[in-house]
């Protein structure tokens, strides 16, 4: 079953820079996909279009039957409830505890109190942070902060998890911890995961599907690919 389909998508920013050219891409439900490519190749732009932060200039993006490109601003929240997003810089609320940060995602969409508690604790358990629910972000390591962000992203059981360089600020050990968490989510919850990254080690170890971008074009797409193969020609 297909979860995402991009048809002839082009994205030109207002300043004239074209970040994505005529892209066609299909992603199956339950897939784990790496998006790799050099700096400025359009990885973040692709992810932003998937959560409708940016609109494609041309083309269609169908996500779970929803035409994301045509979605009105007022309705974007409906899409966002179906997906989770994780960034390099965690984006946590510094004055809220781990628990509050995760529960926040449910509170603001009007979830019932007892459901919030249950789901929040479940999500924190899944990322291995149940013992630190009362800590504040500045009392956590980078890897732990990123796990809080992941818990927040999956707390509402999204079908899709978008990650834009989630390990960008982390050392290799912590990065691998994050990857374990993501793989676990992908396996146990069946969540489709799309992850943009620079990290060779990770891509090589995980042996997942790899989509390679270069200057806004999709140049290759490998099942169980590795970064090493691409390293020579795409950078």
């Amino acid at each position: 079953m297909e979860l995402i389909r991009l048809k002839d998508v082009t994205k030109q920013y207002k300043n004239g820079v074209t970040a994505i050219y005529d892209m066609n891409l299909k992603i199956k439900k339950g897939d784990f996909v790496f998006v790799i490519g050099g700096s400025g190749s359009g990885k973040s732009t692709l992810i932003k279009m998937l959560y409708r932060e940016e609109k494609p200039t041309r083309g269609e993006i169908i996500l779970g039957g929803l035409n994301v490109a045509k979605l009105r601003n007022r309705k974007v929240y409906k899409l966002r409830r179906k997906l989770g997003i994780v960034f390099q810089d965690y984006r946590l609320l510094p004055k809220s505890t781990v628990y509050e940060n995760v529960a926040f995602a449910l509170e603001v969409i009007g979830t019932k109190g007892d459901v919030i508690k249950m789901k929040t604790l479940q999500a924190l358990e899944l990322v291995g942070l149940k013992g630190k629910i009362r800590n504040y972000p500045d009392q956590l390591s980078g890897g732990e902060q990123q796990r809080v962000a992941i818990a927040r992203a999956i707390v509402n059981n999204p079908r899709l998890l978008l990650c834009d360089e989630p390990t960008g600020n982390l050392d290799p050990t912590m990065s691998m911890e994050i990857m374990k968490v993501l793989e676990d989510i992908n396996k146990t919850l069946g969540t489709t995961i799309i992850m943009a990254t620079h990290d060779k080690e990770i891509v090589n170890k995980m042996k997942k599907r790899v989509v390679v971008l270069k200057e806004g074009r999709l140049i290759s797409d490998y099942e169980k690919g590795t970064y090493a193969k691409e390293a020579a020609n795409s950078f």
């Binding site: 601003n73 929240y77 409906k78 966002r80 603001v108 019932k112 927040r152």
Partner: protein, 299 residues
């Protein structure tokens, strides 16, 4: 249910935010407080003026004395001439005999001396008792009546009443002007306060967007924050007006300077005024926050 959960959350957030940026909120709240105090005082004053002019109006009667040589038909002519004027509420005739009787009833000495008068000796005059519709125009009405043939003298309340009313209406207009200016200043202060809260919570707002909070639920707490500022700003004016007016009323025992000027009884009057003040505070607060949200919380 979901709606009420969101509403509850928004109200809680709004209160939190007010107290988190307390010094900033205080500026708005003080401004609302000052505005509402002036509104409260003006409102109480003008309602009281309306009230007692209404009461006085019923009591102010001018007496139109007719010259002694007037015949029956002269009397009728005077009456119809007065009735033709446009400020006349009521007109009744009082003959000199009735006046005499009234005076005799009121005083023992009058009774003795006047009792001896014959109908022809009665030096008193026939008169018309006239009430006007608009007290503030009583002067010109008196002038008109004086011009009528066979009218000897017109006497009425010393003119203090309509002077008082005139003065109050000027004060009222000045108060309106001040209130409008203050409301505008207040609205701008609130816009600024809410703008700064919006900026200080940029991160929170962007996370809310990411996790799929609807625009309405993102905006609601900020709009409610304006309402809360308005509500908090109305506390002092309402307490002041309630206790102040009751004390004022009791101190003057319900009448100001003369028994003619009756004050409105505090209950339920002050509750209505308090309601108006609270409502006004909330409205002003909401206008401010609504504008701020529209301007600074783009979606």
């Amino acid at each position: 249910m979901k709606f009420f959960r969101m509403l509850f959350r928004s109200i809680r957030d709004a209160f939190k935010s007010v107290f988190r940026n307390f010094s900033l909120s205080m500026a708005s709240i003080s401004c609302i407080t000052i505005t509402l105090i002036i509104v409260a005082v003006s409102l109480i004053a003008s309602l009281n003026v309306d009230h007692f002019t209404e009461v006085i109006k019923q009591d102010v009667t001018m007496v139109v004395f007719i010259e002694n040589d007037a015949t029956e038909s002269d009397l009728a002519k005077v009456k119809s001439a007065i009735e033709r004027l446009d400020n006349i509420e009521e007109i009744t005739f009082k003959s000199k005999e009735e006046s005499k009787q009234e005076m005799m009833d009121s005083d023992e000495i009058f009774k003795q001396t006047m009792g001896e008068w014959d109908i022809k000796d009665n030096p008193l005059r026939d008169s018309y008792l006239v009430k006007v519709t608009k007290l503030e125009k009583i002067d010109s009405t008196v002038e008109e009546i004086k011009k009528i043939d066979k009218v000897a003298v017109v006497s009425y309340g010393e003119g203090t009443v309509e002077q008082l009313v005139g003065t109050f209406s000027i004060i009222e207009k000045i108060a309106y002007g001040i209130v409008i200016a203050l409301v505008i200043v207040t609205v701008f202060l609130i816009i600024n306060t809410i703008k700064l809260t919006i900026f200080s919570r940029k991160r929170e707002i962007s996370i809310m967007r990411l996790v799929g909070a609807s625009n309405f639920s993102i905006k609601l707490p900020f709009v409610i924050e304006g309402m809360v500022l308005g509500l908090l700003g109305s506390i002092l004016p309402v307490l002041g007006l309630t206790y102040g007016y009751v004390a004022f009323y009791n101190y003057f025992k319900g009448n100001l300077f003369s028994p003619l000027i009756q004050l409105i009884k505090p209950e339920p009057f002050i509750f209505y005024v308090a309601g108006v003040i609270i409502l006004l505070g909330i409205i002003v607060g909401t206008i401010g926050s609504y504008h701020a949200v529209r301007r600074y919380l783009k979606v």
